[in-house]
């Protein structure tokens, strides 16, 4: 390489916890192993064993409430915020009620699902710690990285056996495997890597509750109002009976939630009694007082508001197996309490956010190995700042600034911090946001609010003011309406790359020999394109229909009652979310990744085989099938054909055509709530496992290499015209058509240095968003630093980098994902 003389450039902004307490929290987190905590599922199961015969919603509420009121209230040393999802610092709940099968298979030493052999998990950091402790202390491991005691392991095995035929996944399987006519297409799709693994182990999420109402009313008031609804109810239709079930369930679950908070109050009081340090004693007494007030009654000050939010948030988090369950617009929620608290200092608020962020990062999830690998342990708890209010005025405020400062100080992987961009935002706020980006942590990502508003106006028909006020990001990059929408509960991803394999091999998967489509031998460009579309359409449609079957079982096994209470207008309508209680039900998406490789491949086919007649289509396909070996000359010509990301219409037009075809086709099928499926494209870490199962492509990509990531990020190494050309290509896409999208840009620190560097970055965002783009995020790292971090992970324990819709600790990422991040084109000078 011709740059090895250059000294390594570090991160411009470093940041450190603002005080010794939060510094302790971060250190404690980094030193803790990953644990699995079966307490919640144990109590839930205990209840479920005796609630048989109860109506589904009421049973679900009773089980959740039973568990909530019995969970051990753990207050760790120095904590000032009460409430944890598990008893451990880094703990995960194994939701066997969602999917017992993957756990059982592991415990029975059976083979994991087909995808998991292509997945790779990280091996450093807390994961390494867990592996070491397992060895030393005779503990057991679940899902490759979580510790559990031998006794609890046995208990858990029994719990899983109980759920084996009752869990959501088993009940869903009964439906679709027996009744869906194309069931074999789905199963074959998994075998060949056309789809991500079954999503049932962690389907919930991309959901944001109406915390505003939860705080302002308090749980007691919500219970009173619901009781009033039951009293005033006059049925006029036989189906309305379910309303009473839901309302009763709501009251049950809220009462359980109150006990959960009260248990923390009692624990704080108990700890205070035996505390010898007067300062800590006072803190514990204050905690006890706060926990006996919120979330039952409205908060009276900022600290109570944060505590009330955190309890409400946790209670929803506990209920389901979530990925992407999000806090949403926390700066908007907390600003009134911040502004009206005469005793609060800015540094106290920042410290509280620092503590909150550690708590959010401490939540782990355990699911199938495949999904753990895909999500890389990240929970995608998206916290979005700024944007505009219902009147269209800028909404960034002092709390937005405090949150940014807290993240600059802490650099935790959670929350997934985002900014709603709007041209009205304050420049000081935007500069603070870019300062945060320059820590290298990858947060915040920037999202264009007007683009999403357009999308929602077109699809939901809700009023502009409502959309503006509630728009937030649920999960990594999927926009939704906070407190008003059903979660974005989709089946998983379709692998466009695998479709290229099928097109090149007459409908047969070259790796497994499984036939997925009618045999065709395309002879013209149009025939190639239509063959691709034919297979894409089958892949998408079957995926959607399969998922509609699965979600029938969701309603019958794991409907979210607590969460429904805080999604409008479930209580008003007397319907939980699964019965269509939410105002927005078009939030279910169909996801895919790898379309850039398809567009590049089609461009190469058109150029080499038809425009320039360099080779025949048979010759090209043969070279690709042979992984280009012995065809280096032809591969060189393929790579010279314009690729996506260089603002070249030759290939960009092909991408736009495919994009439109995909969007039109996706929304042609209704979801299980009666609304059209919403097209979406993102990536998480799918490009790595999806690429692993694919042969070489006509675009010059070699067998096994990762796919292009995100929606509009170029394939690594093929964007040769610089970052503005990448953005100009991306600008051509109508981002208002999809729910979610992704553009990764990686910059060398020198390109963004200083205030002028920040301003240039903001100008780049503004230019992209004026068009309008939807999302852009930055990795500001020196690739040589990352290479060094591969060799000396011990020096980079706290290095966080942006992977896709999330950031992760470098040392906990798999080697292949690390390589991919390094490989992404680094824009520097």
């Amino acid at each position: 390489m011709n740059v090895h003389h250059e000294p390594m450039e570090g991160r411009e902004i470093l940041g450190a916890p603002s005080n010794s307490r939060t510094s302790f929290f971060k250190g404690r987190y980094l030193d803790s192993p990953l644990m699995v905590d079966i307490e919640y599922i144990k109590y839930l199961t205990e209840s479920h064993r005796v609630t048989d015969g109860t109506e589904v919603l009421e049973r679900r509420a009773a089980d959740h409430a039973y568990a909530l009121s019995r969970l051990t209230p753990v207050i760790h040393d120095h904590d000032t915020l009460a409430g944890n999802k598990t008893r451990f610092i880094r703990g995960a709940i194994p939701y066997a009620n969602y999917a017992a099968e993957p756990f059982l298979r592991e415990m029975r030493k059976e083979e994991q699902d087909a995808q998991s052999q292509h997945m790779e998990q990280g091996k450093g950091g807390g994961i390494r710690k867990a592996l070491l402790e397992a060895e030393q202390n005779g503990l057991r491991l679940i899902s490759g990285k979580f510790l559990i005691s031998k006794d609890e392991y046995e208990q858990f095995k029994e719990i899983c056996t109980y759920w084996e035929d009752k869990c959501f996944m088993a009940q869903g399987n009964l439906l679709w495997k027996n009744h869906f006519r194309n069931a074999s297409f789905i199963e074959d799709g998994w075998k060949i890597g056309l789809y991500t693994a079954p999503h049932e182990p962690c389907p919930e999420g991309r959901l944001i509750l109406d915390f505003e109402t939860a705080l302002a009313s308090g749980f007691n008031q919500v219970i009173r109002e619901t009781e009033e609804k039951i009293r005033a109810f006059q049925p006029e239709d036989i189906t309305e009976g379910a309303k009473i079930n839901f309302w009763k369930a709501a009251i049950t679950v809220l009462k359980g939630a109150i006990v959960f908070a009260e248990n923390y109050a009692a624990e704080a009081e108990h700890l205070a009694e035996s505390e010898s340090d007067p300062a800590r004693k006072a803190e514990l007494m204050r905690m006890a007082e706060i926990c006996s007030r919120v979330p039952m009654e409205p908060p009276r000050n900022f600290r109570e508001a944060v505590q009330s939010f955190w309890f409400t948030y946790l209670l929803g988090h506990l209920e389901g197996s979530h990925l992407g369950y999000s806090p949403g617009k926390l700066d908007q929620l907390l600003y009134p309490y911040y502004k009206n608290d005469p005793n609060l200092t800015r540094s106290e608020a920042i410290s509280l956010f620092e503590e909150l962020f550690v708590k959010m990062t401490q939540i782990e999830y355990i699911a199938s190995m495949s999904w753990q690998g895909l999500g890389h342990g990240n929970l995608y708890q998206n916290l979005i700042l700024g944007g505009v209010d219902e009147k269209g005025e800028r909404a960034d405020n002092e709390v937005s600034m405090a949150i940014l400062q807290a993240q600059i100080n802490m650099q935790m992987t959670q929350p997934t911090l985002s900014v709603w961009w709007d041209e009205k935002l304050d420049s000081e706020f935007l500069l603070k946001a870019s300062e945060c980006v320059k820590t290298g942590v990858g947060y915040p990502a920037f999202f264009n609010q007007p683009t999403y508003v357009q999308h929602e106006l077109k699809t939901s028909g809700l009023p502009l003011a409502t959309i503006r006020k509630h728009s937030a990001i649920g999960g990594c990059t999927e926009p939704t309406l906070q407190g008003m929408a059903y979660g974005i509960v989709q089946a998983g991803f379709v692998n466009h790359g695998k479709i290229i394999d099928l097109v090149l091999n007459e409908g047969v998967d070259p790796v497994t020999g499984i036939r997925m489509a009618k045999p065709r031998k395309p002879g013209t460009f149009d025939e190639v394109r239509s063959y691709y579309l034919e297979i894409m359409q089958a892949a998408v449609r079957n995926w959607q229909q399969y998922w509609n079957y699965v979600m029938i079982a969701h309603r019958n096994t794991v409907p979210l009652v607590f969460c429904s209470v805080f999604v409008n207008n479930c209580l008003e309508r007397g319907k939980c979310m699964d019965d269509g209680g939410a105002l927005l039900n078009q939030s279910i998406t169909t996801l895919s990744s790898g379309m850039v490789n398809v567009a590049n491949s089609l461009a190469v086919i058109r150029k080499l085989c038809f425009d320039d007649k360099v080779c025949s289509i048979d010759e090209l396909f043969k070279a690709v099938r042979e992984n280009w070996q012995g065809h280096e000359g032809l591969r060189k010509k393929a790579l010279a054909v314009p690729h996506w990301g260089n603002d070249d219409d030759y290939v960009d037009d092909i991408f736009l055509d495919l994009f439109d075809e995909y969007c039109d086709w996706v929304s042609g099928q209704n979801n299980y709530l009666g609304k059209p499926y919403d097209p979406s494209m993102l990536a998480i870490s799918t490009p790595v496992p999806f690429g692993k199962v694919c042969n070489a492509f006509p675009d010059g990509r070699l067998k096994g290499e990762p796919l292009a990531d995100g929606v509009t990020s170029p394939f690594p190494g093929t964007d040769v015209c610089g970052p503005t050309a990448v953005i100009r290509s991306s600008m051509k896409v109508d981002h208002t058509r999809i729910r979610g999208g992704l553009l990764n840009l990686k910059f060398h620190p020198s390109a963004l240095k200083g205030v002028s560097g920040s301003k240039n970055m903001l100008a780049l965002i503004k230019t992209y968003f004026e068009k309008p783009g939807f999302h852009v995020q930055f990795n500001v790292v020196d690739s040589r630093m990352l290479l060094d971090a591969q060799v000396h992970p011990e020096n980079y324990r706290d290095l966080v980098v942006r992977v896709a819709g999330f950031s992760a600790y470098w040392v906990e990422m798999s080697k292949s994902l690390q390589d991919q991040v390094i490989w992404r084109t680094e824009h520097s000078l």
Partner: protein, 300 residues
């Protein structure tokens, strides 16, 4: 008309304000030993050979019409002087591993303006524009003028980075279409300048005085080269010259060896292998010197 360029970079942020497109024009009258774009010195196209990509498949040897490439001991040997970067580009086509390429290509002023114009929205939002560098852009004066005029028609901010070695007329012509000059001053002592750059310094200082008298916006760029330009006397001379011409802004460019490999790749000799890069504190000391004299001084 057509010109010869080396490269176009977008999102350039170190050569003028805001987000810029940076155009490297080929050809330079100076021969500075520390040049980090050695392939920009000669006016015509040049062959580039990146040896670590070479798989010694010998395809280039078979396809070379001049015999300037030969094989021996499993190695490819190139005689750059005998290679004329032939129009057939035989060895480039033959190479499957991107080990051979050509530095420099012809482009019409219209096409170049079109490429520059693509980033107008980025310029507008960042206060950026286009910067012409090189090489010495004034070597292709007529071409540069056409492109500058085209850019001004589109209201694009223009910057010219120059070593100042040019006939007065060319400089006079581009003045109305140039918003900012990044003007290199290397060595003030005439003998030393001639020795290290191959050209006399007087015309350079004369041209600088001329554009200053025409009220051009100027930032001086001063390459800090250990033992060559960084002597106490020369640094003092630079400051005095700027004082005389009433210039206030200076940007220090500390020596680096990033262009080192490119010498080998183009079959050129590098004369500064013995030179050690500065410690950051040394560069700061130079900056402080200029700042204490009242100059606005930055480090590149």
């Amino acid at each position: 008309m057509d010109g010869t360029i080396l490269n176009i970079q977008n999102y350039a942020v170190h050569d003028g304000p805001g987000i810029r497109t940076l155009v490297f024009l080929k050809g330079c009258p100076l021969r500075c030993a520390w040049c980090c774009n050695p392939e920009s010195q000669s006016a015509g196209a040049q062959l580039r050979y990146i040896s670590f990509r070479c798989k010694t498949c010998m395809a280039c040897v078979e396809h070379c019409p001049t015999g300037s490439v030969s094989a021996g001991n499993g190695e490819v040997r190139r005689i750059f002087d005998e290679c004329n970067a032939c129009s057939g580009k035989n060895c480039i086509d033959a190479c499957n591993y991107d080990a051979v390429s050509v530095s420099g290509r012809e482009i019409s002023s219209d096409e170049l303006i079109k490429i520059i114009a693509r980033d107008i929205p980025f310029y507008r939002n960042s206060g950026g524009g286009v910067t012409f560098s090189g090489g010495e852009p004034l070597m292709q004066g007529a071409f540069l003028l056409e492109v500058l005029q085209g850019c001004k028609k589109l209201d694009i901010h223009t910057t010219v980075e120059t070593c100042g070695w040019s006939d007065r007329k060319t400089l006079h012509n581009i003045l109305p279409f140039t918003n900012l000059f990044l003007y290199d001053l290397k060595i003030i002592d005439p003998g030393q300048h001639l020795c290290h750059t191959g050209q006399p310094v007087d015309p350079i200082i004369g041209n600088l005085k001329f554009i200053a008298s025409e009220n051009a916006d100027i930032i001086i760029r001063f390459p800090l080269i250990p033992g060559i330009t960084d002597t106490a006397q020369n640094v003092k001379n630079i400051a005095e010259t700027m004082n005389v011409i009433k210039l206030n802004r200076i940007c220090l460019e500390p020596y680096h060896s990033l262009g080192r490999e490119k010498y080998d790749e183009h079959g050129m000799e590098y004369g500064l292998d013995h030179v050690v890069q500065y410690e950051h504190s040394q560069v700061i000391a130079f900056r402080d010197y200029f700042q204490e004299l009242g100059f606005q001084c930055e480090i590149a």
